[in-house]
């Protein structure tokens, strides 16, 4: 989502973007915060010469190791954000979206965040599921819709947890314990975070925890240009919430308890550290603020303010950044650093359960998921284990998905269907011939009744365009059945043919009429009568053959 403006605004993109409403709203907040953070500290000039490969090579690490620096772009503007968002068409869970009639696309709840989706892309006979960041844990969003992923030909699996060894429950516990211990000793806690997502769960957890830990007098500050909108938006997306929270909407009670934290003045939110915040600021306290990379945003001020005291603690909860790299420019640092990455996306145990449940014919996933993490090569439990083995892909690789399209569905118009006269050729199997016009538009195929045979039209009438359709030829009946050779020979004899010889071939029989110098080749799906320019004989023989076959 954060890269959307780069695609829609810089690549000549002319299409439609589909997204759920919370994705759009929360995505807008995240982008707005980012733009705000960046624009707050405008750069007078920007350096680009270092991006020259020959120069870059000489730079110290990690600069020299940076990949594809020439493709790095400036951050987009709010205008570009708005323009990108204007191209989005809103969709709801389980809504079926037709794409040119070729495929149907459906978003499903992925359980990871408000409005986050997995997608089903299906035609009438094929189904591909695209699983992105999903969660099976009970947090605030609607639970993951697993049932709809069943019967997939291919399941594309992406967005698994970045920290497979860290169990979110344990990490939340660590978070709370460390927070309590720091505050109890008079220290401050800094939580670098995004303004939406895990923060809702953390606030909920703290809501239950602070009283038991005797922390009810400690202020919690949430500082972000979009703090207010984030806290309020989350409360109004009732239909996208988990069942528990949905029911609260009808009580009426705010679904998230952070409303109560705000009411009781335990949680206060500010757009930035300037203004009201500086008047209200009290220590010891807990501050949630961005950006989790520690490179910009209000978090920078707090790092500088609190970094020198060992009483304070910075707790990293977002899994997107290496906390050591984030901290590097601030070293040496006296404050305690705790790493509790909370990533609720699927881990490998959950994936294996999911695959057992959903049973796709093929799994396609990034290469990294098919081997243990490089740092823990013995942890064979930290990889996808499925049968048949998952098909892996690398960045920018083009994959041929392991299935072929074999069938298309064709609709038949009711009046045409009415005219059909099926004939039962075997018990339970009826056939009918159809003469129709196949009408194909937008990848949809419809059989329409053929035009009436051309009738002499009154000279005065103008020809209508539909009359241009070529006339159908008179239909020959279709044949079915098989020819029993012995009976056929008897029949031939009865009709005066003698000197008949039958030869068996690999595909059937050849009936030789030696006298007439004629050959009848009888095979499973064809019969040939080969005679020398004697049309009368051929027609006679053909009629005898036809006696054994059914016509319809």
């Amino acid at each position: 989502m954060m890269a959307l403006p780069y695609i829609t605004e810089h690549t000549g993109f002319t299409g439609t973007v589909y997204a759920t409403e919370p994705t759009v709203q929360i995505g807008r907040l995240l982008m707005e915060e980012l733009v705000n953070f960046i624009e707050r500290v405008p750069k007078a000039q920007s350096a680009s010469l270092w991006k020259n490969k020959d120069t870059q090579r000489l730079l110290p690490s990690p600069l020299k190791d940076a990949v594809e620096v020439s493709t790095w772009r400036r951050c987009y503007t709010m205008q570009e954000v708005n323009s990108a968002l204007s191209k989005i068409q809103l969709v709801g869970y389980s809504q079926k979206i037709e794409l040119f009639g070729a495929v149907q696309v459906t978003p499903l709840s992925s359980g990871y965040a408000l409005g986050s989706s997995n997608w089903i892309i299906q035609s009438h006979y094929e189904k591909v599921s695209y699983v992105s960041g999903s969660s099976l844990l009970t947090t605030h969003p609607q639970p993951m819709d697993q049932a709809s992923l069943k019967n997939s030909d291919v399941l594309i699996l992406t967005g698994l947890t970045q920290i497979p060894t860290a169990n979110p429950d344990g990490m939340v516990g660590e978070f709370c314990s460390n927070l309590a211990l720091t505050v109890r000793n008079g220290g401050n806690v800094l939580v670098p975070c995004y303004p939406s997502g895990v923060i809702y769960d953390l606030l909920e957890c703290l809501y239950q925890y602070i009283d038991s830990a005797g922390l009810s007098s400690i202020p919690f500050y949430f500082i972000s240009p979009v703090a207010n909108s984030s806290l309020e938006f989350s409360q109004i997306f009732a239909e996208w919430l988990c069942h528990n929270k949905q029911t609260k909407v009808y009580l009426p009670e705010p679904p998230f308890p952070h409303a109560e934290l705000i009411q009781t003045n335990k949680l206060k939110h500010y757009p930035s550290i300037h203004g009201d915040f500086s008047n209200d600021f009290r220590q010891p306290c807990v501050v949630f603020t961005g950006h989790p990379s520690l490179r910009f945003g209000d978090v920078v001020h707090f790092m500088e303010l609190w970094g020198k005291s060992s009483l304070n603690t910075v707790i990293f909860t977002e899994p997107d950044f290496s906390y050591l790299e984030a901290l590097a420019p601030y070293q040496p640092l006296a404050m305690k650093c705790i790493y509790c990455p909370i990533d609720t996306r699927l881990n490998f145990i959950q994936v294996s359960k999911l695959l057992k449940e959903v049973q796709p014919l093929h799994v396609v996933c990034p290469e990294q998921y098919t081997q243990p993490p490089p740092a823990q090569s013995h942890r064979v439990d930290l990889m996808i284990d499925c049968q048949p083995p998952a098909m892996s892909y690398r960045r920018a690789e083009v994959l041929a998905l392991p299935f072929r399209r074999r069938y298309e569905k064709i609709e038949i118009m009711p009046e045409l269907a009415d005219s059909l006269v099926p004939m039962e050729i075997k018990p339970g199997i009826s056939l009918a011939t159809v003469s129709a016009v196949l009408h194909t538009k937008d990848n949809k195929h419809v059989l329409q009744p053929p035009p009436r045979p051309a009738q002499p039209t009154g000279g005065k009438k103008r020809k209508r365009p539909s009359d241009d359709i070529p006339d159908c030829k008179v239909l020959k009946p279709l044949l079915s059945g098989s020819i029993p050779v012995e009976q056929f020979v008897q029949t031939l004899e009865k009709h005066g043919f003698s000197d008949i010889k039958v030869e068996d071939t690999a595909k059937g029989h050849i009936v030789l009429l030696q006298e007439a110098e004629t050959l009848i080749q009888i095979e499973e799906d064809s019969t040939h009568i080969i005679c020398d320019n004697d049309e009368v004989l051929r027609v006679r023989l053909r009629d005898l053959v036809l006696k054994f076959l059914q016509k319809f």
Binding site: N167, N178, S217
Partner: protein, 763 residues
């Protein structure tokens, strides 16, 4: 049998044989059987049958029925068995699909066989059985046929019958029976898979425990053969059983021990980075079958490991455990398993990699391994191994991924290892390694006490209580604890939202306070407010907490404080007892009231001068003048309103409270009477009012206070009360009325009586 029951019995028998009638549930039939058992034990069964022909009729009709209901059939067979024990003569039945019926039939067979063999064949009958009674012959042939059967169910039943036989019958003829049947049993071992392996193991162990075992008869060879034929999981219970046997050949024991050790040997081998120190004794080298089981599936691997750990844990506690006990390799194996489960092992072998994947995060194995590791603390180990043990325990205590149950087990194992650790040789203080470990442990404990998961806080507190109980006097421990902030946090948890945690915090602060390790907390919320003493705080919990557990915990702490002569208590003993009893008397939880009586009893014992007691009162009382002392004591009891509390409890609606109170008053009466004491006060107005109040209490009007009491009046009341009689009445269980056979028969008839009424309605 009393006449009333005799009168009800025919109706009940009629109900039981009537297929249209709903049969009472199994429990009723079980109770009925229990009653018949007492009746048959009390008198001759024959007479019983003659007096109650309905019983014979019942047995006859049930056994003849084409499609008897399993419950009734089972009941009838067992009833028949009861009579058969004295009379003999019943036919047998076996092979019913119902487990109950098959089991009952099997037991009946065993009884009949034992009966048949009792008379003529006593002594040493030939194994061929030509001199056995016909009835016994028939049974044994039936068992032989079943053993040869290809249907596992039949084999199982035959094996079960034999297991019961060898378990109950210890006469010499069983030896002949074994000689005759053992070849057939051995044949079962040749089959693949071995049928009814579970029952086979039971049978072999039953034979080995019986006199047959002591006379060899090739039994040991069969056992050895079975051990090697069964799969590792099936062989585990047999191996444990063999190791429990009193006398059996050493070679067999070694083999059995090898079976139990194999899974752990396998783990050790898989975990080894390089050839390590010598591992398990020969015979336990992690053979390929065990490895195959490990690799076959996750559940097989987990099942086998958990079983092996549980068996070895049991074995270690037994006096006949194998010697030498491979303590060091077992420790290494337990540590390795825990590391596999934690994902911190880095094996190089394939099996190791597989174990890693299977065991990572497996709570079941973690629990079993931690329990086992805890038991191993009874032995010692090389220091470097003990260091590893503490390291892995610390890993588990620290890890945010440890589930609450695993964390609890880790705390328990840590406690056992800590308490088992050696004292420093020079002084009686903790050794340097333990001190070092404590330094790392206490910050972890501190963090656990702040955990948002209440189970974690709770097990942390339990651990703290236990370790303080043992080490409260150790200077190094006291020093580390006081520097750790743990006592303050513990105090904070007295106000925890979770009642279990509050209860544990009460116990922990009580324990800390006993050792002078508790400083009243000054929370971050109100640092300026001077907190009250712990006693006041606990008393507050006792009077206001809405949950029972914390209040019960407070009562236990107070009782302990009183016993120990805690400083807060000794300051003003009477005041202490009075306030506690007052709070406890109003409690709705009977356990709190009962514990109040316990505390009162301790107080009483201290006052009345238990020998060796160090109660300040006992020292203060001049021992030379018992009557005067007694008067003083009674005065004191009146001042703390102990009598009112005890007398009220005497009519408590909860029987245990009343019983305890009765015991207490009897104790007081016994103590007071021999000394003479104050003279009888006659019918003074005091006594009258007391007795009147007691009568009201007995009638359920507990609201009335007793008012000021005079010791003389109390003693007079005690003397006039029939406390012994009351105790006898209270000793009978509250349902003694409902438990009578008559009531049982009436109940059963009442439940089926509905049918009759419905029929009447149809008219």
């Amino acid at each position: 049998m009393d006449p009333e029951c005799s009168r009800l019995l025919p109706a009940l028998c009629a109900v039981l044989v009537d297929p249209r009638q709903p049969v009472a549930d199994d429990t009723c039939l079980e109770k009925l059987l229990d009653w018949f058992k007492t009746v048959t034990e009390a008198g001759p069964s024959l007479l019983l049958l003659q007096e109650n022909p309905c019983l014979v009729e019942l047995l006859f009709r049930v056994l003849k029925a084409h499609d008897p209901r399993p419950r009734v059939l089972s009941f009838s067979l067992r009833l028949a068995g009861l009579f058969a024990a004295q009379e003999d003569c019943f036919q047998y039945l076996q092979g019913d699909s119902s487990l109950f019926v098959a089991s009952a039939a099997g037991q009946l067979l065993v009884h009949i066989l034992a009966l048949a063999m009792r008379g003529p064949a006593e002594g040493h009958p030939s194994p061929q059985g030509c001199d056995w009674p016909a009835c016994a012959q028939k049974i044994v042939c039936h068992v032989e046929d079943s053993l040869r059967s290809t249907a596992t169910l039949q084999v199982t039943q035959a094996l079960n019958v034999l297991t019961t036989t060898f378990g109950h019958c210890h006469s010499p003829w069983t030896q002949g029976l074994w000689v005759r049947l053992s070849p057939l049993v051995a044949c079962l071992l040749e089959k693949d898979p071995i049928p009814a392996s579970h029952s086979l193991v039971d049978l072999l162990l039953s034979v080995a425990r019986s006199p047959v075992g002591s006379s060899d008869c090739g039994l040991w060879e069969t056992l050895a053969q079975t051990l090697s034929h069964l799969s590792p999981t099936q062989a585990g219970p047999l191996a444990l059983g063999i190791l429990k046997l009193q006398d059996c050949p050493q070679a067999l024991k070694t083999q059995a021990f090898g079976v139990l050790l194999q899974p752990l040997a396998c783990v050790l081998k898989a975990a080894a980075q390089a050839p390590g120190p010598p591992g398990f004794p020969e015979g336990a080298t992690g053979d390929s079958i065990t490895v195959d089981t490990f690799l076959s599936s996750k559940s097989a691997c987990v099942g086998l490991l958990c079983q092996a750990l549980a068996h070895l844990e049991l074995l270690q506690l037994l006096p006949q455990r194998p010697s030498p006990w491979p303590q060091a390799p077992l420790l290494r194996a337990a540590v390795a398993i825990l590391r596999f489960c934690h994902g911190s092992a880095a094996p190089t072998s394939d099996v190791g990699g597989h174990l890693c994947a299977v065991l990572a995060g497996c709570v079941r194995v973690q629990r079993a391994a931690l329990d086992f590791l805890g038991t191993l603390s009874q032995g010692t180990g090389p220091q470097e191994l003990v260091t590893q043990v503490f390291a892995v325990l610390l890993e588990y205590l620290t890890s945010p991924d440890s589930s609450p149950m695993v964390l609890k087990k880790a705390f328990q194992a840590t406690l056992r290892w800590l308490l088992g650790s050696p004292k420093a040789p020079s002084c009686c203080d903790l050794d340097p390694h333990t001190q070092l470990f404590l330094g790392e442990l206490l910050p972890v404990l501190r963090k656990r006490l702040c955990s948002p998961c209440w189970e974690a806080r709770d097990s942390g507190l339990e651990f703290l209580t236990q370790v303080t109980r043992h080490w409260g006097g150790q200077a190094a421990f006291r020093h580390a604890l006081l520097a750790s902030e743990v006592p303050e946090l513990t105090g904070q948890l007295l106000r925890d939202p979770e009642s279990y945690v509050r209860a544990s915090a009460v116990t922990a602060t009580g324990q800390l306070s006993s050792w002078g390790l508790y400083a009243t907390p000054t929370g971050p919320e109100h640092p300026e407010v001077q907190q009250e003493s712990l006693f006041t705080e606990l008393l507050h919990i006792l009077s206001t907490d809405s949950e029972g557990f914390p209040r019960r915990a407070v009562m236990h702490v107070f009782t302990q404080w009183l016993k120990d002569g805690h400083a807060d208590v000794a300051e003003d003993l009477e005041q202490f007892v009075a306030r506690v009893l007052q709070a406890a008397s109003q409690d709705l939880d009977w356990e709190v009231r009962a514990q109040g009586l316990e505390l009162a009893l301790v107080f009483l014992e201290q006052l009345l001068g238990q020998p060796g007691s160090r109660c300040p009162y006992a020292v203060a009382l001049p021992e030379a003048a018992p009557p005067a002392t007694l008067a003083q004591v009674l005065q004191a009891l009146c001042r703390v309103q102990l009598f009112e509390f005890a007398l009220r409890a005497l009519f408590d609606c909860d029987r245990p409270v009343a019983q305890k109170s009765c015991d207490l008053l009897l104790f007081l009466k016994a103590k007071a009477t021999p000394c003479g004491g104050p003279q009888e006060a006659g019918a003074s107005p005091d006594v009258v009012s007391v007795e009147a109040a007691l009568q009201r209490w007995q009638a359920g009007e507990q609201g009335q206070p007793l008012g000021e009491l005079e010791p003389e009046a109390v003693m007079a009341v005690l003397r006039s009360m029939d406390l012994e009689g009351l105790r006898g009445m209270l000793a009978k269980s509250s349902d003694h009325m409902e438990k009578s056979p008559q009531s049982l028969l009436q109940d059963m008839l009442a439940t089926v009586g509905v049918l009759g009424e419905n029929e009447a309605d149809c008219y």
